[in-house]
């Protein structure tokens, strides 16, 4: 009997091609006669364009066309924003700058040439005359009525103001014994997908067919949007996301460059390609985070939280990209964390700044929420002299599930959870009690050891359609071919997550075939039915469920066919291990598959073929959770921070492949580590992006990553039949507060209660130095 594979950590079927360099990313796709595009981008953060002189570029041999913003920005529709907030002000975001530039990196002109070298040479010859304007960089100061204004038509830099939450916050804070306040920064981060963006466009005028290869997380949504931008029929636009080398949210978007390449290929009658460079990627691909906020948390003497308020300024950048204004609303949804908090309020002031747009970056608004509530819980613990674990436990709900979902004051019903379970397991792994004893001893000996605990919950499996801008369902088609090979078409196009493996595992178990018999096809809108995409930790919970449900339909049909072949009543047929059996007789699924296609022996009312499609609409989000514990040691002489131990217990519901789950957790923790200790997109006071290359912007490397001790609990979600929740973002949500808390804890005896990220050694050293001076 074939072994079941769901729940097994089998190796990823995608890896051999990736490891051997055999995968095909956009740049690996070569079409004859392709023109190569290079953009000229603004070197000022805010300026009026006086003149763009392209004459020399146009004359360069090998140059086929040069477009400026003036040439094309009215010929292509605006860069879309899919999110809407009541009374939101939306600037007209054209594909290139026309009169003004708004950030360093804003595209001004584009050159198309026979090869990229000529294109770049010509781009260097384009002269832009600028008249500098005062820059707006700080999201808090941007809201000041005296600030210079970026979008004159809007008249202020405020994109929107929004209040969210439930309960009487004033009363709740009044009822508190103590109120703790803290200003908290979430710096801008660059998603840094290993593969930058890239677009290849080809137009066949005869067939009137436009094909766009683009490195995206959302092939179908991007096709819809780009067809609207171009006024081109959606069913004639084929969008293909080939191998996509990571996205982290940065490719959950529709970018000007995609539409420009499509437009140019039609105008120029040749394929055109644009491949983003890393410096361009830093300047012109969305950034994540970018909030500065003020928290107020009220508590009783025993640690019970009475209310939580978060007043936040959110940095939008100069324009909206696809989901820019929506990100802070996700923060609002998750402010309750895993705690019973009777009243919650978030007041957002979202502001335009002369910087690249912010948008979804792994976690998208939820890391901000988890970070502020977790920091708040630590501050409460410090204020009350309680242990950080006890404060958390005090406010946990009892374990809950389908019968008693947990309602929080942000309006959500959490699907299922057992926060104590994950916490207890993590504490045991860490030997927490002993850790505290050791910490004390070490401190007495002059060593600085800190322990940080974060108990997080996140919202994922996005999500019910009414809650999302563009549909929250997902699609799957499963086909059994005549030779009984299984083809799975998913709308949840992966870009590193490993669905080719995990969806095959689901199908293999359901159909009694092997993983190798299955293939997962995705990313090509001409082949795959409409789908939503991979983001918001939704691929398995929503896309996987669609696959699962399509398989059930298929099995039902196959069972009917098998019953017919066996001459028995379908109700008597059992299916196990690839065999349909009834009363001692059986047919294999292979025989059924062949019969379905030869169609010589079908029940009268049955269509030939074996294929089923499902569009799955989830009824709720899912809410994975967990506990992360970080132990750091700080070098008392230099302030350098060393992570000694990292423990994570995550609960993402039912696990299809633990290896993939670990991979996601590892990656998420690493990105958290980057945010906590190294990463920061820095614009100087002129708005120049000075963390503009990987020489300065510190993405963690393998050698900087600690060993991670991982385990999990499994609390199935009642939202979908497999009970899966999602894990793509958990690490990047749960880990940041644990790491920061550990560093703060190591310095707690010096009166430190909070430090802003990234916590650089020099900053710690300054604290230690001051303390030493004070003590002396």
């Amino acid at each position: 009997m074939a072994e079941k594979v769901v729940g097994k950590g089998i190796k990823r079927t995608e890896d051999p091609r990736l490891i051997q360099g055999l995968a095909h990313y956009v740049d690996d796709i070569k079409l004859p006669d392709t023109l190569h595009a290079v953009f000229v981008r603004s070197i000022y953060a805010h300026a009026r364009i006086k003149k763009v002189d392209v004459a020399a570029a146009q004359k360069t041999p090998g140059v086929v066309a040069v477009y400026t913003g003036k040439d094309i920005s009215q010929k292509i529709g605006p860069v879309p924003c899919g999110a809407a907030i009541p009374d939101m002000k939306q600037p007209d975001h054209r594909v290139m700058a026309t009169d003004k530039v708004y950030w360093v990196g804003h595209p001004i002109a584009v050159v198309f040439a026979e090869n990229k070298y000529v294109a770049r040479d010509a781009a260097d010859k384009i002269e832009v005359d600028y008249e500098e304007l005062p820059v707006v960089l700080d999201e808090e100061k941007a809201a000041d009525p005296k600030s210079p204004v970026i979008h004159e038509k809007i008249g202020s830099n405020i994109a929107y103001k929004l209040t969210a939450g439930e309960g009487d916050i004033e009363a709740a804070l009044k009822a508190a014994d103590k109120i703790v306040r803290q200003k908290i920064y979430h710096k801008r981060l660059a998603p840094i997908a290993m593969e930058g963006r890239g677009v290849l466009a080809r137009y066949y005028p005869g067939e009137q067919e436009l094909t766009l290869w683009t490195s995206t997380q959302i092939p179908h949504l991007a096709r819809t949007q780009i067809s609207l931008m171009l006024g081109f029929p959606e069913n004639k636009l084929r969008l293909i996301a080939p191998e996509v080398g990571g996205g982290f949210g940065s490719k959950l978007n529709v970018y000007a460059e995609e539409a420009i390449m499509a437009y140019a290929s039609m105008q120029l009658g040749r394929p055109v390609k644009w491949i983003e460079g890393r410096r361009e990627n830093m300047q012109g691909t969305i950034h994540g985070r970018g909030q500065v906020g003020y928290i107020e948390i009220g508590c009783k003497k025993d640690g019970t939280i009475t209310g939580f308020r978060y007043n936040v300024f959110a940095d939008m950048g100069s324009y909206f990209q696809l989901l820019t204004p929506a990100i802070p609303t996700l923060t609002g949804l998750m402010l309750s964390g895993c705690y019973k908090i009777p009243a919650i309020q978030m007041n957002v002031t979202a502001c335009f700044t002369n910087k690249m747009s912010t948008d979804a970056y792994r976690g998208a608004g939820r890391p901000e929420a988890t970070y502020v509530i977790e920091r708040a819980m630590d501050l409460v613990a410090a204020e009350l002299g309680m242990d950080v674990v006890e404060v958390r436990r005090k406010n946990f709900p009892e374990p809950f599930g389908a019968e008693n979902p947990f309602k929080v004051a942000t309006g959500l019903f959490y699907d299922s959870g057992n926060y104590q379970g994950a916490l207890d397991k993590a504490l045991k792994m860490a030997d927490y009690t002993n850790l505290r004893v050791e910490q004390k001893k070490a401190r007495a000996a002059g060593r600085l050891i800190g322990v940080g605990v974060s108990t997080y919950v996140e919202i994922c499996a996005m999500g019910p359609s009414p809650a999302l801008p563009a549909g929250g369902w997902e699609s799957a088609t499963v086909r059994i071919e005549p030779t009984c090979k299984v083809t799975i078409l998913t709308g949840a196009s992966p870009h590193g997550q490993g669905q080719e493996t995990s969806f095959s595992q689901i199908a293999a178990d359901e159909l009694g075939v092997t993983v190798n018999d299955c293939t997962v096809i995705h990313g090509d809108t001409a082949v795959v039915q409409y789908g939503i995409g991979t983001f918001g930790s939704r691929a398995t919970a929503v896309g996987g469920t669609a696959v699962y449900l399509a398989l059930q339909k298929l099995k039902a049909k196959a069972t009917g066919m098998a019953a017919h072949m066996l001459g028995v009543d379908a109700k008597t047929v059992t299916f196990d291990d690839g065999k349909f059996t009834s009363g001692g007789k059986s047919v294999t699924i292979q025989e059924v598959a062949l019969n379905a296609h030869l169609a010589k022996n079908l029940p009268a009312d049955m269509e030939p073929g074996l294929s089923a499609t499902t569009f799955f609409e989830p009824k709720n989000f899912t809410f994975p959770f967990g506990t992360h514990i970080c132990v750091v040691e700080i070098d008392p002489e230099t302030g350098e921070i060393q992570i000694q131990r990292y423990i994570a217990v995550d609960d993402c519901g039912k696990v299809i492949n633990p290896l993939l789950v670990h991979g996601q957790i590892h990656g998420g923790i690493v990105q958290s580590l980057g945010q906590a200790l190294f990463e920061e997109v820095v614009y100087d006071e002129q708005g120049q992006l000075i963390s503009g290359s990987l020489m300065d912007y510190a993405v963690p490397k393998a050698a900087q990553v600690p060993w991670m001790e991982l385990d999990r609990t499994e609390t199935p979600s009642p939202v979908n039949p497999m009970g899966v929740k999602g894990v793509g973002e958990a690490g990047s949500i749960g880990a940041t507060p644990a790491i920061v808390a550990a560093v703060v804890d190591a310095l707690a005896h010096l009166g430190v209660r909070h430090l802003d990220m990234p916590i650089k050694p020099e900053h710690v050293w300054n604290i230690l130095k001051k303390n030493k001076a004070g003590a002396a």
Partner: protein, 288 residues
Amino acid sequence: MIPANFDYITVKSLDEALSLLAKHKDDAKILAGGHSLLPAMKLRLMQPKVLIDIGKIKELSYIKEEGGQIHIGAMTTHFQIETSALLQKSCPLLPETATQLGDMQVRNKGTIGGSVAHADPAADWPAAVIAVGAEIVVIGPKGERAIKADDFFVDMLTTSLQPGDLVKEVRFAAPKGKTGQAYMKVRHPASGFAVVGIAVTLTVDGGKCSASGIGVTGVSSKPYRAKSVEAALKGSALDAKSLAAAASHASDGISDAISELYATGEYRKHLAEIYTRRALETAAGRAK
């Protein structure tokens, strides 16, 4: 990430390289491992018209000891230094430095000659070659000459190489007597280059420090010899107190300490002191 147009020439001998250099002058650049040059070209920060690839010149890749002198050919890779049995035995400072330089790919391609010629203010080799008192042997239109490492590094990305010159080798006297060495580095979290890098070699005679070499990189716009540290060590018993006292001079006279996003000049100087002390302690321990 798209370099400007250039011609590429591979040469098989030093003479060929020199004559091409003489011919193309400022338009030409030597290509060694390419791990500093190519990134700069891709950014178009450098746009040489001709690249002269010296990778195939066999006579430039060697590590040998002759008459008490150790010679390392310019084209010797970081990896070859890291794994050289000769150096591990006679001058372990260099393998230890190599171990901390870049990553495996960089160490496989990058060369010591390229590194010293490039003179990045945060590169590792300059500290080490200063510490061991090396000379950079240069060959040019007028023949060969040796320049003391201390004089070779002039400023940021600037050496005393003249147009038409090529680095031929790095050479130094093999450490004699009871010696202890150490390289310690604080890596920049993004680039991996040195925020500070301290190279130490100590010679002990009768329980006292008879000679020392301390090279510092990353702190200032050029690598330097920490002369006051060396002076303070001379004759000292290398006990904890004297090492700490000596290390406190690690950045004496440095007025232009590098400040960048990750670390200010003040912090760099502090790190220089702490890591000098630690490197001295390690080296002193090894000298026993």
